[in-house]
């Protein structure tokens, strides 16, 4: 059994930042990621990030991954387990893992779950045709593996992922025939929408997919308009001949490990599904298990990084490590989160989180 002080599960923006801040307090960190290369979704984000300097605004996601990785690699307090899938968290506190086919156990004193989120999908006729992808999958193909997914695309979903991946498809030389969203308004940042519009790509809000066409592979997509009660309107069909359709209808937290660990979970639509109840320092209802990033509620990567720093501090502090200005650091991180969430685009997040926070004393049900 491998001992560990803090085990961090997931090496994306939240997990990397958690490792950096826990290690800074002197805590020994074991950082596990199921991929060979750490960085999570950052490694395929070729666009510049929003936020402020503290969240690396104006820097491209892939370069942020490099900055964060350089702080955990060669860090004497951080041991990285790449190609390692965490299989379970058991009631006696034992964690099971699989590294490149080798099964082993870890006994951590604290855990930070930063497993991220997965893409939701959508039911419509022939959605199983090859050529129908999640937008994130297409982004991985293009930006990580350099594979062009096809020649002409319909993007379903005008949230930030749909808009950004559409733009990146065009940068890769793929034609985007249309962006389609059932909602009457564009959900993503309007500056992203505007930069795609001036490339000549139409955005059909208040429309959804009727069906996909093709026998062996995708040959086309028919969309139709929705009325104000979200019912499709006959006769408004438009057909696009495309060989790729991307589905980008939101993310849902990858929370299986939290369920298994017995964390109290709550369904919060605004945060993408079932999310863990936690205190303001990101400790769940199970003492010693902390969360950060999309697994605790789907949000932007900027907030995931700040949550990571906070969870890292909290977990290290839980184990008795501290630093002279820990309260100052925590206050700063709380202020950053509040600022990122305080505007109109953070309204859903604020509402969602307000349903989740419990105060620290009432918190704790059991120890890991």
């Amino acid at each position: 059994m491998k001992p560990a002080e803090v085990l961090i599960i997931g090496g994306g923006p939240a997990g990397l930042c958690a490792a950096i801040s826990a290690a800074e307090l002197g805590c020994k960190v074991l950082l596990a990621d199921r991929n060979k290369k750490l960085g999570g979704q950052l490694v395929k984000q070729t666009h510049m990030f929003f936020g402020s300097e503290k969240q690396y605004a104006s820097v491209r996601g892939i370069d942020i991954a490099g900055i964060l990785l350089s702080k955990v690699e060669n860090n004497e307090n951080v041991e990285i387990l790449s190609d390692t899938t965490i299989l379970g968290i058991y009631e006696d506190g034992v964690v099971t893992a699989d590294q490149s086919g080798n099964y082993f156990k870890i006994r951590p004193d604290a855990i930070i779950v930063a497993t991220g989120a997965s893409e939701k999908t959508l039911a419509f006729p022939y959605n199983d045709l090859p050529g129908v992808y999640g937008a994130g999958a297409v982004q991985t193909l293009m930006n990580e593996y350099g594979v062009k997914p096809g020649n002409r695309v319909v993007m379903l979903g005008a949230g930030n992922i749909g808009l950004i991946v559409s733009y990146q498809l065009m940068q890769a030389g793929v034609e985007v025939a249309a962006i389609v969203d059932a909602s009457p308004k564009i959900g993503g940042y309007l500056v992203h929408a505007s930069k795609i519009r001036r490339m000549g790509v139409p955005i059909y809000t208040g429309h959804t997919v009727k069906e996909a066409h093709g026998t062996e592979t995708l040959k086309g997509v028919t969309i139709w308009q929705l009325d104000d009660k979200w019912n499709p309107i006959e006769g408004t069909e438009k057909r696009f001949d495309v060989d790729v359709m991307c589905i980008s209808v939101g993310l849902t937290p990858l929370s299986e490990l939290l369920w298994q660990a017995g964390c109290e979970m709550k369904y919060v639509n605004e945060l993408g599904g079932f999310v863990p109840v936690r205190n303001e320092d990101l400790e769940t209802s199970v003492k010693g298990i902390f969360v950060a990033g999309d697994v605790s509620g789907v949000e932007e990567a900027s907030s995931a990084m700040v949550e990571g720093f906070l969870a890292g501090l909290s977990a290290a502090n839980y184990l008795g490590y501290t630093i002279y200005n820990i309260n100052e650091k925590k206050n700063d991180l709380h202020q950053q989160l509040n600022a990122l969430r305080s505007g109109p685009v953070g309204e859903k997040i604020r509402k969602g989180i307000s349903e989740l926070i419990f105060s620290s004393e009432a918190a704790v049900s059991k120890e890991i």
Binding site: L190, S194, G200
Partner: protein, 166 residues
């Protein structure tokens, strides 16, 4: 309009366009950012304090067009690619517009390209005057293009004449 289509309305643009008097005095930044999102790199990029400090990071950019000299430092720093420079003094007939452009191939200086509006429709000819792509721009090159003055407030992209007209 904007939140349905991604295209700002005339009334949106009125709020961010420098005065005619200012436009006629030389290069100035136009920030076409209309939504309160948590983002402030335009302020940190500005070395003339023309773009004011954000009280709340979700505020819209507040630019003093009088203090702005159109240096274009903010253009490649804006994650939304929402900032352009307009120079109505470029020549008798033409205005010079500087736009961020993140596509390959980049045009070459003196190329004649299409000037595209905010919906990507070709509206006029544009001549590429300069292509700036130094390391400090971090892969967001800035194109200087000359267009007839009447299109200066309309053109926001270029088309390289692909088969689909973009």
């Amino acid at each position: 309009m904007l939140e349905k289509t991604g295209v700002p309305a005339a009334s949106d643009l009125e709020n961010v366009m420098p005065s005619e008097e200012r436009l006629n005095r030389g290069p100035v930044a136009v920030i076409e950012c209309f939504q309160n999102i948590p983002c402030n790199p335009c302020y940190t990029a500005c070395s003339r304090n023309a773009i004011k400090e954000f009280e709340d990071i979700n505020d819209l950019p507040n630019i003093d067009h009088e203090a702005c000299n159109g240096c274009s430092l903010c253009v490649s720093k804006c994650p939304g690619l929402a900032i352009m420079i307009m120079d109505m003094t470029y020549s008798e007939q033409e205005a010079l517009i500087k736009i961020p452009y993140e596509f390959l191939p980049l045009p070459k200086e003196n190329d004649l390209v299409k000037g595209l509006d905010r919906e990507g429709k070709p509206v006029c000819e544009a001549k590429v005057i300069k292509v700036m792509n130094p390391k400090s721009f971090d892969k967001t090159p800035i194109l200087s293009i000359a267009v007839k003055k009447e299109f200066a407030k309309i053109v926001r992209n270029i088309g390289m004449g692909d088969e689909d007209g973009r």
